[in-house]
Assembly symmetry: C2
Homo-oligomer: 169 residues x 2
């Protein structure tokens, strides 16, 4: 038969934070906080739009132009999300769609679980993706989320007034 045109792949990332689940959850539920680590982050992209409605059924939308140092300078990238399940301080499940230059390159289901530990909170992030033509594939997406969670660590370290002592394990 013909070759499938979709690559399916699941990856899991874990981070530990020396903060209670409520503080970590707030970095996802508060639009101002999420804008800082998720939309602005370290990448020098030109944000044209960021909006989110944090409720089951609510939508999130981030649109920007790729920066000069990226493979596609000036090209429009859109990340759209829909919140499907929210359990306060415990989990968030979203469908995520990425468009590059107006073309859908991937769809994913992302689960963020917050697990209380003796020293704070473990974030367990499971990303179940479907990758289309021109997406760059799962490794690139995983790398993108690592960068985002580095940014989340900085956001939370700053909020807690502590150093950059978190670790990925």
């Amino acid at each position: 038969m013909a070759e499938p045109s979709v690559v399916h792949s699941t990856f899991v990332l874990e981070r530990s934070f020396p903060l209670p689940p409520e503080r970590v959850f707030a970095a996802f539920s508060d639009p101002g906080k999420k804008r800082r680590w998720f939309a602005e982050g370290e990448h020098q992209n030109d944000i044209e739009e960021f909006s989110m409605e944090f409720r089951a059924g609510g939508e999130e939308r981030l649109r920007y132009r790729m920066g000069e140092t990226t493979p596609f300078p000036g090209v429009e990238l859109t990340n759209e999300g829909r919140y499907h399940d929210i359990v306060p301080n415990r989990r968030i499940v979203m469908a995520l769609t990425m468009h590059l230059g107006g073309r859908c390159i991937s769809v994913a289901l992302a689960t963020m679980e917050l697990l209380p530990t003796a020293s704070g909170t473990d974030l367990l992030f499971t990303h179940q993706g479907a990758y289309f033509e021109g997406s760059g594939g799962p490794e690139l997406r995983q790398q993108g989320w690592r960068v985002l969670f580095d940014s989340l660590e900085r956001e939370l370290a700053q909020a807690a007034g502590i150093g950059d002592g978190q670790s990925e394990h």
Copy 2:
């Protein structure tokens, strides 16, 4: 750390049909056809609502009461879908959410790929699921899709005016 509250699981189902991709695709894109095999099927449930808007970004909604022979007779079950990527006669990617008695029990990313073969079309169905409390887990969902694709086979056999000669492999 505490136990995760979500089970993630991916399964793949394949079916072969002695019909060109256009005919198989129509069973997904035509609301009348899809209602027959997807909403009505064999199960003796009481359909209260079925609607679909077949376009990227469009929504699908099936709501019914569980039948007398099911584990939850009379309980409302809602299947909501959102079309994220559609390539005519080739693939459909949807996010699917299931609510039982008003409570979200699972979210999934479902990819239907149609691959032309010498004798017709292979359907490659990839289901990437996240299962919550009370969902019954991935095996139950996989069994549900097998039943649905049996129903799709009947729909297509009837449409083609042929016998029940399809096989799952």
